[in-house]
């Protein structure tokens, strides 16, 4: 016989009322986010073009065409090189800057607030600032001439455009890594170090066995965030090079945008974006699992 509860206890009623507050947070993203998302998935299997009213199901054709499209592979290559390089620069130098900011010096408060600036300004605007400084006769080339580097049109030269974008991206996002690492260093417990000092451990040993394991979760966290956000970079590329010159700086996200709004290939672009999402999802899940394991000891 099934258990039938005739009257709800006071606590259950309270709990239900509390859960009502969840609904808006579920419904609105549902309508604005999930439904369009699944619609997009469905549409990626059609021949949808912008301004096309007769939409037909075409199965996997878009995906197959995508994989045989050299522009797609170029965009994939750009995505990997751009994000790979940015991640490398941001994590390595971000770690260094984060550590630098953690040293106990007078006036650190000033430097620590300076580093926050690129995080607060809209990435698009920071990118435009750099665009202003980078032309052939811009101030950057002027300053570089002092150290013997010839003037280059950084953003319009196909050989330098991508690297320049990596620099701009690092400018905007390295502070993010830095303050996470800074927070990590600031919250290191004193006791292991005191014990190590008493035991007479060497500096290298201390770093390898104490500092590094404690900082690793934060490095991982910064890596996860940057990885996810870097793969879908759009603003700064669109604002500075628009994907060019040619398609030298066109990553997958931008590729999808251009394909949709310039060529009207909406379904194909959706397929591209979904593949991008899949990659992000798979890799970040693995990274997050790694991170959860690394922070398990804290519980």
């Amino acid at each position: 016989m099934s258990k039938v509860k005739i009257r709800k206890s006071a606590k259950e009623v309270e709990n239900s009322k509390l859960k009502y507050f969840l609904w808006p947070a579920i419904i609105i993203p549902l309508c604005i986010g999930i439904i369009p998302y699944f619609t997009g998935i469905g549409l990626s299997f059609t021949n949808w073009k912008l301004a096309l009213s007769n939409i037909r199901f075409v199965g996997l054709r878009n995906y197959i065409e995508m994989f045989s499209n050299p522009d797609f592979w170029n965009a994939a290559k750009v995505t990997i090189s751009f994000s790979g390089l940015s991640l490398l620069v941001e994590i390595v130098f971000g770690f260094f800057v984060g550590w630098l900011l953690s040293v106990n010096l007078k006036g650190q408060a000033f430097f620590r607030s300076i580093i926050l600036i690129p995080l607060m300004v809209a990435p698009v605007l920071s990118a435009l600032m750099w665009k202003l400084m980078l032309p052939q006769h811009g101030v950057i080339n002027y300053l570089l001439s002092f150290i013997g580097i010839n003037a280059v049109s950084w953003l319009s030269n196909p050989h330098t455009a991508l690297i320049t974008l990596v620099v701009i991206d690092a400018y905007i996002n390295l502070p993010f890594v830095a303050i996470i690492i800074l927070a990590g260093f600031q919250s290191l417990p004193k006791e292991p170090y005191e014990a190590a000092a008493v035991d007479g451990a060497s500096k290298l040993f201390i770093f390898k066995k104490i500092t590094f394991p404690l900082i690793t979760p934060l490095i991982l966290l910064a890596l996860i965030f940057r990885f996810i956000l870097s793969l879908k970079t759009f603003d700064i590329i669109y604002a500075t090079t628009g994907g060019g010159p040619g398609n030298v700086t066109t990553n997958l996200h931008l590729f999808a945008y251009i394909n949709t709004f310039k060529y009207g290939q909406a379904a194909k672009s959706t397929a591209v974006v979904l593949i991008l999402f899949l990659i992000i999802f798979i890799v970040s899940s693995k990274l997050i699992k790694r991170w959860t394991k690394a922070t398990a000891y804290q519980k």
Partner: protein, 373 residues
């Protein structure tokens, strides 16, 4: 009519049965203590009484009225939390005034009455000078008294106290033990008090419930819990140093019964035959004796336990002596005499049959209590 009636309450969290069929009553002005080790379900029971946890079965009645479905704000109980749960953004005064300014109490207390009442309780607990401080400016003991003040400031039907003095230092704890009892008496409180410290339980409780794994093991007065424990669990729980337990075999005998402590090659003799223990003939029992009831002797005696006096600790009003006997077993004895001349020497322990407690080794239930207990 009882002020509080708890009828067969059960509470489980998934597969874990925290409280099982617990029942007890509380008269007005009575202090009932829930005593047990950590994880026994005492705090859960208290939370069920407060309405913070939902009962799986059973009833709670306050002055005869079933309050199972009442939310905490309608139950007319006050609770002291083990971690104090002070409101960190309010001063001590505001913390204590908060219960009195609850909307459903607006009629009872106006601003002036609140102030008088808070001051009255603050004075009782000697925290009057702290009223303007915030919790993060208080010491541990001061926080505890503030939390106590917040609990006592109302006039609820029942006070629920969860380990109120557990986290105080030893000196303060000792003092508060006495103070709490007089406070409860002065304010005529009906109290359900949770603790894991038997000393608190025995000194504060009118009625004590010993609880293990959510179940009631014994309900009794302090005297009954101390001398007439109905389970070896209770015997082990209550007493410092803990009660000594031996394994023995009962022999009915023709004139005198005796118990053979076979592991230590000694015997405890009764003055007569104990008829009611006949069913335990040749069966193993647990023999328990309090540290204060073992006598140390230098006279060899075939019935005594042979051992070596290995340590003496001086306590405030007695000596705690550790004696090592066969099988590397340590026996603890409490005595007013300092035996340090016998340190590391061989001695004999005498146990009087009038002071032993016998328990069933299978389920721990009590079989026999010595005559003089």
């Amino acid at each position: 009519m009882y002020r509080l009636e708890v009828k067969e309450i059960s509470k489980n969290f998934g597969k874990v049965n925290a409280v099982r069929n617990l029942s007890f009553n509380c008269k007005e002005g009575e202090t009932v203590v829930l005593l047990g080790p950590t994880g026994a379900g005492k705090t859960t029971t208290l939370r069920c009484l407060a309405g913070l946890e939902e009962l799986n079965s059973g009833d709670v009645l306050l002055d005869g009225k079933n309050i199972n479905n009442f939310s905490p704000d309608h139950r007319e109980v006050a609770m002291f939390f083990e971690n104090y749960a002070l409101y960190p953004h309010m001063t001590v005064y505001e913390n204590m005034a908060y219960p009195l300014s609850a909307p459903n109490r607006k009629n009872e207390y106006n601003k002036k009455k609140i102030r008088l009442r808070v001051q009255e309780i603050a004075e009782l607990l000697q925290i009057s000078e702290l009223l303007d401080r915030k919790p993060n400016q208080l010491s541990g003991g001061q926080k505890q008294r503030t939390a106590l003040g917040r609990t006592l400031v109302r006039k609820p039907k029942v006070f629920l106290l969860d380990e109120p003095i557990a986290h105080l230092d030893a000196v303060l704890r000792h003092r508060m033990r006495g103070e709490m009892k007089s406070i409860f008496h002065k304010l005529q409180c009906t109290v359900v008090y949770v603790t894991h410290d038997y000393k608190e339980a025995l000194s504060i409780g009118d009625k004590i419930l010993v609880i293990r794994d959510g179940e009631l093991v014994q309900l009794g007065t302090a005297d009954e819990i101390w001398s007439k424990m109905n389970n070896v669990f209770v015997a082990k729980l209550v007493g410092d140093p803990p009660i000594n337990i031996f394994k023995g075999i009962f022999q009915p005998g023709e004139n005198n019964s005796k118990i053979e402590l076979y592991e230590h090659k000694s015997t405890i003799n009764f003055n007569s035959t104990i008829k009611k223990l006949e069913e335990w003939t040749n069966k193993k029992t647990l023999v328990a004796i309090r540290p204060t009831d073992i006598i140390i002797s230098t006279v060899q005696n075939p019935n005594s336990i042979r051992g070596t006096l290995s340590a003496i600790e001086a306590m405030s009003s007695s000596f705690e002596i550790t004696v090592m006997v066969s099988n590397n077993k340590m026996i603890k004895i409490k005595s007013k005499v300092n035996f340090n001349n016998l340190l590391d020497k061989q001695i004999w322990l005498n146990i009087n049959s009038d002071k032993i407690h016998l328990f069933n080794p299978q389920n721990g239930e009590s079989i026999y209590h010595g005559r003089s207990l």
